[in-house]
């Protein structure tokens, strides 16, 4: 397998020279950015093609190790590329979770063989990855995992269910956390596996969300055989892998990941604010003092969010802040999104909640719809409440919460009556 891309950058190339080369290449090769809904059917096929184009052009995986198909360059090169890529349609849905979370975790914990098999394929756009962590029995208590991985010779036999995996139905591989030892306390009996999603014994159901989208999935495992060679990290030490995966997740979602490329890296333009401005103008209220204050506040919040991303990223990279500080970005970002949804709903007014029949996507209508699922960002990737626990305990050093399952063999831990593999429908 050839893992070198077609153009190797000059190792001495400066960021500026790289930027100039990227600018020219982007103009030549990438289609202009489009406003279309990124979650619509077929979008992932489009992104796979775009990612392949980046690979062929020598701009895929800018911060990934060169040994596994990346460019092995410092983050400044990625920032320059992202800035230059703003006018173009980029495969940004692949940033989270594939590049920023799963590929990043594979870089940290994968064996040489695992990395060689998967990283170049990921960077070519051939493999989309997701994480199978949450379970129907409980979202925030990730280590309270009930999915079983029972050893049988050279394989583990996987049974149970996972939930809230985004776009699993169109993805290829997952990192899946399962309990492989029930005789030790909960964090010590978990193992992380690489799981091929579309295979016999795995059923993937799409979940309809309040905004009508069908991106989230639930998976059911019925005695799926996983080779021992697909264990990530050590057997029974999957929690170490999970912890790192979650750090990558918070970085990627918050916009502080070096492994994501293109628009959704948190350094957003003012386009969000522009939407509010457009609605205020359309309603003829752009001179109303209260409207102006709301728009200004949303604008300031976005600005401060990206300044905070820069600060925390610098802090963690330079070792002046501990890695759990990424929770600061996550919690702040969620609050800003929720506040903005509230401001959007206020500005949208009646047009945000009723509209003429037809499919014409009026901006006010989009804001009204979006407000229904605004809490999603405060739940996914660790709820706001979990982030507050992390910040208070691991950043500020405050005492940890009492946990009834600490130092208890997991088979003896009490579970609620609703700990089944089916989603509750009430």
């Amino acid at each position: 397998m050839s893992i070198s891309s077609t153009i190797s950058p000059d190792p001495l190339e400066s960021v500026d020279a790289f930027r100039v080369r990227a600018r020219a290449w982007l103009a030549e090769n990438m289609p202009p950015a489009q406003m279309a809904d990124r979650t619509r059917e077929g979008r992932f096929d489009v992104e796979r093609v775009l990612q392949r184009r980046l690979w062929d052009g020598g701009f895929a995986g800018i911060c990934f190790p060169a040994e596994y198909g990346g460019l092995g360059l410092p983050v400044e090169y990625q920032h320059a590329f992202t800035e230059e890529s703003m006018p173009y349609d980029m495969p940004v849905s692949m940033n989270v979770p594939t590049f920023g979370i799963l590929a990043a975790t594979l870089v940290d914990f994968g064996t040489h063989g695992q990395k060689l098999r998967h990283l170049p394929a990921i960077l070519r756009g051939d493999e989309l990855w997701v994480q199978f962590l949450s379970e129907p029995s409980g979202g925030s208590d990730l280590a309270g995992c009930l999915t079983r991985g029972d050893r049988d010779g050279d394989v583990f036999v996987l049974s149970g269910s996972k939930i809230w995996s985004s776009s699993a139905y169109v993805s290829d591989y997952a990192m899946c956390l399962a309990r492989t030892n029930w005789d030790v306390p909960k964090h010590r009996g978990l193992t992380m596996f690489i799981v091929k999603i579309h295979q016999p014994g795995i059923q993937v159901d799409q979940i309809r969300q309040v905004d009508g989208t069908m991106e989230f999935c639930q998976e059911f495992f019925d005695d799926v055989q996983i080779p021992v060679a697909d264990v990530v990290g050590e057997i029974d030490d999957g929690w170490t892998v999970t912890t790192r995966l979650l750090v990558h997740e918070r970085n990627a979602v918050g916009g502080g990941s070096p492994f994501t490329s293109g628009r959704s890296t948190g350094h957003e333009s003012t386009s969000d604010g522009d939407q509010l401005v457009a609605i205020a103008r359309a309603s003829g209220v752009e001179h109303d003092g209260r409207v102006r204050e709301l728009v200004a506040r949303a604008h300031v919040d976005q600005l401060v969010r990206s300044q905070l991303v820069d600060r925390i990223t610098t802090g963690v990279t330079t070792g002046k802040m501990v890695p759990p500080c990424s929770s600061i970005i996550k919690l702040f970002g969620a609050n800003v999104s929720i506040d903005r949804a509230e401001i959007g709903l206020e500005l949208a007014g009646v047009e945000g909640v009723t509209w003429p029949s037809g499919d014409d996507p009026d901006p006010a209508r989009v804001l009204g719809q979006a407000s229904l699922s605004r809490q999603g960002i405060a739940l996914g990737g660790g709820s706001n409440e979990i982030q507050r626990n992390i910040i208070s305990e691991r950043v500020l050093g405050m005492p940890r919460e009492y946990a009834a399952d600490r130092e208890v063999p997991y088979r003896d831990v009490r579970r609620g009556p609703s700990s089944s593999s089916r989603r509750s429908t009430t």
């Binding site: 102006r292 728009v295 604008h299 919040d301 401060v304 600060r311 002046k320 600061i328 702040f332």
Partner: protein
């Protein structure tokens, strides 16, 4: 606040920290509460020897800084002063020195500038006018022969009654100008005002046909508007850094307090209801640091988005800073609302800062003007 400092800056920050800790502990600040000046002139002179007034003035005129941009160093002083709610007219004196250093007529004022740099004199920036909103000036300057005649009222003016000179903005026949006026000029009266901050003094300045020579002009009509805008950006950036120092210290001492204090047999810090509030305060505090840093950097480097970033910092930090401190008062319980506890000194400083150099609402309107492309 700024995460990455040069070795020189870090050394300077530590020197400033130690100096303030030794020369200006909170007990010394409390002792100044009933003094007329609100600060110790001898200590101010020693601060000036450390460079507290030099940083925005070119080396050729006797100033100088460690960094390429002096503002990057000045915000370190401001933040350290904030951590101890130290007294001293840092912003007004620096703004006047900055204006004199930038003025094409600066040579006329070398003697005053030297006195300011040495800490022998302090100066005050008399721009605000009561009830008119930040930046609106009704004070007039009319030409009478080879003199200007200044008439109008300015308030609230920091260190207005302590300054030897005041930098006064006024409407001339050609537009806005800035003139430097000695505080003992006939017709000028400085009346001390009350205020929330126990040591930061403000005054009302009344100019009743105050005559100054033409050489007193620091900013002519062709540049005063831009000069005043830049002075505001610098003042607000320094003030935001001070507020960040204030809030950082309050947050630290409150975190220590809830770890040491027990109720129902366990530390206050172990209650999740309180832990979550600390997590919220932490993200707000880091956001304050981030936006204050970004604003200072943008102003220092003369970036085109400096005005936007300063207004964003003013909009964000003002209400957040007071909210964090008030929450910290709540964490302290009853002791937090006593005169005895130091937290009110911090709350006073942050509350006053919030309203100065444009209120959060006024800065939000500046942001809205940028976002909409039109003023209200």
């Amino acid at each position: 606040m700024e995460l990455v400092l040069s070795d020189e800056q870090e050394e300077f920050r530590q020197t400033t920290h130690k100096f303030l800790g030794a020369q200006s502990p909170i007990s010394a600040t409390r002792a100044l509460v009933s003094s007329a000046d609100g600060f110790d002139r001898a200590m101010w002179r020693r601060g000036a020897e450390l460079g507290w007034v030099s940083m925005l003035v070119p080396e050729a005129l006797g100033g100088g800084s460690l960094s390429e941009f002096g503002l990057a160093d000045l915000v370190l002083v401001a933040e350290e002063m904030g951590r101890l709610v130290a007294p001293g007219p840092l912003v007004p004196t620096n703004i006047v020195a900055f204006a004199l250093g930038r003025s094409p007529a600066g040579g006329e004022h070398a003697e005053l500038l030297n006195a300011l740099l040495a800490g022998e004199a302090v100066a005050s920036w008399a721009h605000a006018e009561s009830g008119r909103g930040w930046g609106n000036v009704a004070t007039t300057a009319t030409v009478d022969g080879d003199h200007l005649v200044i008439t109008g009222s300015k308030q609230p003016i920091e260190a207005g009654a302590q300054a030897s000179h005041l930098l006064v903005s006024a409407q001339s026949g050609d537009g806005l100008i800035q003139v430097i006026v000695p505080s003992d000029a006939p017709g000028l009266t400085a009346t001390p005002m009350g205020g929330l901050d126990l040591v930061r003094r403000f005054a009302r300045i009344d100019c009743d046909h105050v005559r100054v020579p033409m050489s007193a002009v620091v900013s002519t009509a062709d540049r005063a508007h831009d000069d005043l805008e830049l002075q505001m950006l610098v003042a607000a950036a320094v003030q935001c850094a001070e507020t960040v120092g204030v809030v950082s210290r309050v947050f630290e001492m409150t975190l220590e307090y809830v770890a040491d204090r027990y109720s129902f047999g366990r530390p206050l810090a172990s209650y999740q209801a309180l832990k979550h509030r600390f997590a919220d305060m932490k993200i707000w505090l880091e956001a304050c640091c981030a936006t204050a840093t970004a604003a200072a950097r943008a102003v220092a480097a003369g970036r085109p988005d400096a005005a936007e970033l300063v207004s964003a910092a003013k909009v964000y930090i003002g209400p957040r800073a007071t909210q964090i401190i008030q929450d910290c008062v709540q964490m302290h319980g009853g002791i937090g609302v006593t005169w005895e506890h130091d937290i009110h000194l911090y709350l006073r400083r942050a509350t006053v800062n919030r309203a100065m150099y444009g209120t959060p609402s006024e800065h939000a309107e500046r942001i809205a003007t940028i976002a909409f492309g039109v003023p209200a």
